[in-house]
Symmetry: C2
Subunit: 199 residues, 2 copies
């Protein structure tokens, strides 16, 4: 978080600058019609530089949430066999805790303008699958059979991601999506976390 002067050439751009340029273009021309070269041109750097800041074009949209999801995956992976629903819910709440409007929220809100509906289904599905997998594995360690665990995981992951989508569509303005996710997780709080035995 520091900004200590370090040796070496100073950066010619930043994630924020590039993301801003990218989002502008996505809104103007659509996501598919905007190439990485377009983005860097508007940002005033070379195409090569883009990949010093983002690992892919879609990373512009998803890096913020992905970082949070990665944290959650780590936390879920370290849950022991006596974990309960509340432990999982706590971890999942952290994913969106204080989540502020960012390129992803913008994209979710303006999906049609950006021509992103198909792409967003796929990308959201991937994140949901990742989270679902981690929750399912925690459930398995708690003694739940494979398929029920997968369903439980999907329900939890969907609670998070669909809440995020709804929050973004509503304008992503008032605060963060914490409350929505909390309510959504409450809906599935009574699912049989420890009831569906193995075999």
């Amino acid at each position: 978080m520091k900004n200590e002067p370090r040796p070496g050439r100073p950066r010619a751009s930043s994630r924020e600058t590039l993301a801003e340029a990218a989002c502008e273009l996505f809104l103007e021309q659509g996501y598919d019609a905007t190439s990485v070269a377009d983005i860097t041109q508007r940002a005033g750097v070379s195409r090569s530089s883009f990949f010093n800041y983002f690992s892919s074009k879609s990373d512009v949209l998803w890096s913020g949430l992905d970082a949070r999801i990665d944290d959650a995956l780590g936390a879920l992976a370290s849950l022991g066999p006596d974990a309960d629903a509340d432990a999982v819910h706590g971890i999942l709440l952290e994913v969106v805790r204080g989540f502020a409007p960012d390129p992803l929220a913008l994209a979710l809100r303006n999906a049609t303008a950006m021509g992103l509906e198909e792409e967003l289904i796929a990308d959201t599905g991937l994140r949901s699958a990742r989270l679902a997998d981690a929750v399912a594995q925690a459930a398995r360690r708690a003694g739940i059979a494979e398929i029920p665990a997968a369903i439980l995981g999907a329900a939890h992951a969907t609670a998070v991601l669909s809440s995020l989508r709804v929050w973004a569509e509503q304008g992503a303005g008032r605060g963060s999506p914490d409350a929505l996710v909390r309510d959504a997780l409450g809906l599935i709080h009574d699912l049989p976390w420890r009831g569906t035995r193995m075999r």
Copy 2:
């Protein structure tokens, strides 16, 4: 389904031939390391021809299931507001009804050998998301609020796809995954299909 002699040049290959060549190479070298050119070379046709048979490399694996999913999406879209859980379950059962071992089953079973674990999570997530969306929309039409509907949809879609995965991992030998999916759908039969009111 006929094979009537039609005018025009006869085909030089077939989906089956190409899929076979592709699967061999996926097993030998891995999915990523196998290019479309590799596949067509082994199959003895030109690279251009590949796209006469499949729309993409991953389509080799997924076209079989995707066709079934498309049918289900159509059926789900035509459900009226008085649809119940059984109607949805019936449609979802059709997705896997008599599903036979195919490239996808092979890939699910040999995911690690093909270096496909990451790719499969993404691709499965996409199919799951599609199905979940359609179920969720049906639920919304039945009066369920948005987020509960999304969760319900995810649970149903995951019941289908995780059953398919388990079936494939077990060898995809004995019969089709019908029974597994039936059981999985039974697990969520009691979810509040008509209980969670709007607002």
